[in-house]
């Protein structure tokens, strides 16, 4: 029973990463119907940006004493989120928008996204070399004991951050004008410009939101597993996409729930089976969910006119 609780806590932490990344996927998908396969690599870029900023801030310059770890962390998070969203928006401007303007089939945009992801990974490898980076330890580890179950402050921080960012995103989407415009675009792409809504600005706003979530996920991931390498974003990105779809892609509640479902399944499988069975069992479960509910947990079946 204790191990179950312990595993559940680990699963919540692991699920938080998936949820944060899946939120980015689902935001972009909801507005553009584009599977942004470069998203996992944007997470990697976010982790690297966080690494450079944290290392730069931790350094001692002249006679000024070094900043304490929590100040560095408090500065790193917003700067990283801003810089990562710059990367995401640049990608949108350079690669996706021209294709969208030309009216290309959306699958060609998906292929472009895949290629952009490859460029990010291998460009990183080319620029920084194959040596792995060790993320600096910014906050002291505190372990809280609740009977036999132990929790670190980092774990609580990760879980709370993901829940908080979900709540904020949900507020943005349901309460603000920009959020209303985003929902409008996903409802009817052709009528929206006629209503005087600047569609390109809204798309850029969506990319800013999605990529800053990716940046946040990158920092949290780097804090929890402090070894960075250029290919770290691939498998977590693909899996977060799967989580977003299982939740019902285009719906942020679905992405949030899907991320936690995937995280919990993976950790529970590893807890009770050999770890090499992780992907096999967790994906079989997800396939079964999709077979029973073909539009995901929160997705609504759409009626199509002929």
């Amino acid at each position: 029973m204790d191990t179950l609780f312990q595993n559940l806590l680990n699963a919540l932490q692991w699920g938080s990463f998936y949820s944060l990344i899946a939120l980015g996927y689902t935001l972009v998908y909801g507005v553009l119907r584009l599977i942004n396969f470069a998203h996992g690599d944007i997470v990697m870029v976010g982790a690297y940006i966080a690494f450079f900023i944290a290392s730069a801030l931790l350094g001692v310059y002249g006679g000024i004493p070094a900043l304490p770890g929590w100040v560095v962390l408090a500065l790193t998070i917003p700067i990283t989120m801003v810089l990562t969203s710059v990367v995401g928006v640049t990608l949108e401007r350079i690669a996706y928008r021209p294709l969208r303007r030309k009216g290309a089939n959306r699958l060609y945009v998906v292929i472009t996204a895949l290629m952009a992801g490859l460029i990010l990974e291998n460009g990183n490898l080319l620029l920084l070399g194959a040596s792995r980076k060790k993320f600096p330890e910014l906050i002291d580890k505190v372990v809280y004991q609740f009977g036999p179950v132990s929790v670190t402050n980092l774990k609580i921080g990760v879980i709370l951050t993901s829940i908080l960012s979900f709540v904020i995103l949900h507020m943005i989407i349901t309460r603000t004008k920009a959020g209303m415009a985003m929902r409008a675009i996903s409802y009817d792409k052709f009528a929206v410009p006629l209503m005087g809504i600047p569609i390109d600005q809204i798309i850029v706003f969506t990319f800013i939101l999605g990529s800053s979530m990716a940046g946040l996920a990158g920092i949290l991931f780097a804090l929890s597993y402090p070894i960075l390498d250029p290919y770290m974003g691939i498998s977590i990105g693909w899996k977060a996409f799967i989580a977003a779809v299982v939740g019902g892609i285009g719906d942020i509640r679905g992405a949030f729930a899907g991320g936690f479902i995937l995280g919990i399944t993976e950790i529970m499988v590893v807890a009770f089976f050999p770890s090499s069975y992780r992907d096999l069992i967790s994906f079989t479960i997800l396939l079964l969910i999709l077979t029973v509910k073909p539009t995901g947990l929160f997705g609504m079946p759409k009626t199509t006119k002929i």
Binding site: Y108, I111, L118, L280, F283, T284, L286, T304
Partner: protein, 337 residues
Amino acid sequence: MKRLSVPVLLLVLFAVLMGLAWFEVIDVYLQTILLFMGINVIISSSLNLVNGNMGEFSCGHAGFIAVGAYVSSVLSVALFTKSRVFGAPLLPPEWAAFGFPVILIIGGLAAALTGLLVAIPSFRTRDDYLAIITIAANYIIITTIINIDKIGGARGFMGMRRVIFAMEDFAGIPWMILWVFIFMVLTLVIIRRYMSSTYGKGVEAIRQDEVAAEIMSVNTNRVKLITFMLSSGLAGIAGGLYAHAVGYVNPKSFDLLKSTEALVMVYLGGMGSLTGSILSAVLFTLLLELLRPLQIIKWVAIPLLLIIIMQFRPEGIMGHRELSDIFPKLKKFYKFK
């Protein structure tokens, strides 16, 4: 006479390739590139059947390639060679020359059966939900292979070279070029025949509008089932050829990166264009080999090049047209529909 021009052309090409390889005018490296070209043509044209002609988005093609590769290499190693895992050959090694195509087809059949993993959920799920099923299927296949320790697990499986040697003991001709060429032509003929049959019309109808197709009495489930199984079966044959051309298979080499390569070949050539996917498979293989000296820069240069191509030709090289649509005079020699 004009009707025969394509078969004659293919025969001449075949004879030239075999001759060049036999008299060792082209070295083993060039032969390997030619083999990869042929295999990639099978991969891209079979994926084109689902992604281009039927308009679904399948991104787990490498899973089926893996099934074909493993089934055929395990069978051929067990049947024709003495190996540590399976012991003495079950059949005389001289039979390898005739047994090899049978084994490839068995590998293809196994892959087609695995295709059911995707085909059956595709009855109810549509576009991006189906994409996820294919990705999950790819993961499931790879992890299943990793967990079967008998065939090497994550270490990979080897010994297919000895099958080739056994064939060469029987007769000293370049066997792999022979089989890759034959199966490539067979694949193209099958796909062309399939697409010009009644089922092919059904496939086109599903791409244009699935609901309308169903109302117009296309049995969509049946068409989807057959198309998915055909596509994955041909991918399995390509996998068997790949395994024997390289002589070593590893589950890691069939991950989503391989699927991405297949996707790139399809969309570079143009969705639904058979000649486009042949052309793009050949070009893509050449590009990979030509840029090899650049090492890691290659993996930045190729995606960049593809993004630029996409910007200028957002519908791929051919863009849902065949070669004979662009050069109508070719139709005299080669009638597509």
